[in-house]
Symmetry: D3
Subunit: 63 residues, 6 copies
């Protein structure tokens, strides 16, 4: 029943997402028990103009 | 003041969303009291490539 | 598969929560189709000191 | 380390986002201490058809 | 109508929260326009055992 | 920079959380690249009275 939300910068391939959700599910079941079917994972692809660190959007050059 | 976030697979029509938010708001006021105007609902349309159950993305065929 | 997150001010009874999740699930299946078992609902009880509207926490007297 | 999620109606310019994240980060450091680099901000641009108040989507005329 | 969620390590005082929500609301209205009453802010106090960076919980000593 | 939110039923031990965040971070770096320090994970322990599936809270007996 664990539910994951993953926010990551846009641009990952479907192959990366496939592998990531398989691995996350595997380690979750290993550590917490339960069945793989009880693990839900939702990914959000975040645009660079919508993520800021240190007060600066990731569309900007960083010093 | 209750605030809802609804994540659902993309592809619902505007008519379905209209009806869903009206009904959710109605039952919320019925059960919790308060005014309809205090109920906010935000919907996220999730792409199949961004939702996994059992370690498999919903773009994949399921056995 | 729709997943709901409901944030509401703390203080609701279990009876209210029971009724609310039953009703939300019922209207969701009515409007979107699918089976009730595919509907997950997570509630967050928010403390008054952790919610602000108009720049003022809900622990404060409101004019 | 504070992490912000801001949901707002779509349509803001990059200039507004730039200014907003700079200001949010500045006031956060002023009030909570810590370094600007520890502040992350994620923005979600919400479509009008995905936000409802009072049981009515923001695509609808409001009385 | 912007809605903020702020996650921060537990331990901030009510005074800090009061000041933070007032300032966040002020800069939001300055940059985006609209009325202060349309700004909602929800704070989550996160326990150190529930936040990890670099694969290590914040309850652990950091090298 | 990926940021994880994990919602799970309350009752996991600190040892389980330690192991889970270490493993999640490891597989994330393996699949997406980047440094472990860029991975943040926030856990929410959800009470049984705050999670419903099929319209029924997890405090209730299930048929």
């Amino acid at each position: 029943m664990p539910t994951y939300h993953i926010e990551m910068m846009e641009g990952r391939t479907i192959e990366q997402k496939k592998k990531l959700v398989a691995e996350i599910t595997r380690v979750t079941v290993e550590v917490l028990g339960g069945s793989p079917d009880s693990v839900d994972i939702l990914i959000t692809d975040v645009k660079r103009e919508n993520w800021a660190t240190g007060g600066v959007l990731w569309t900007e050059p960083r010093s």
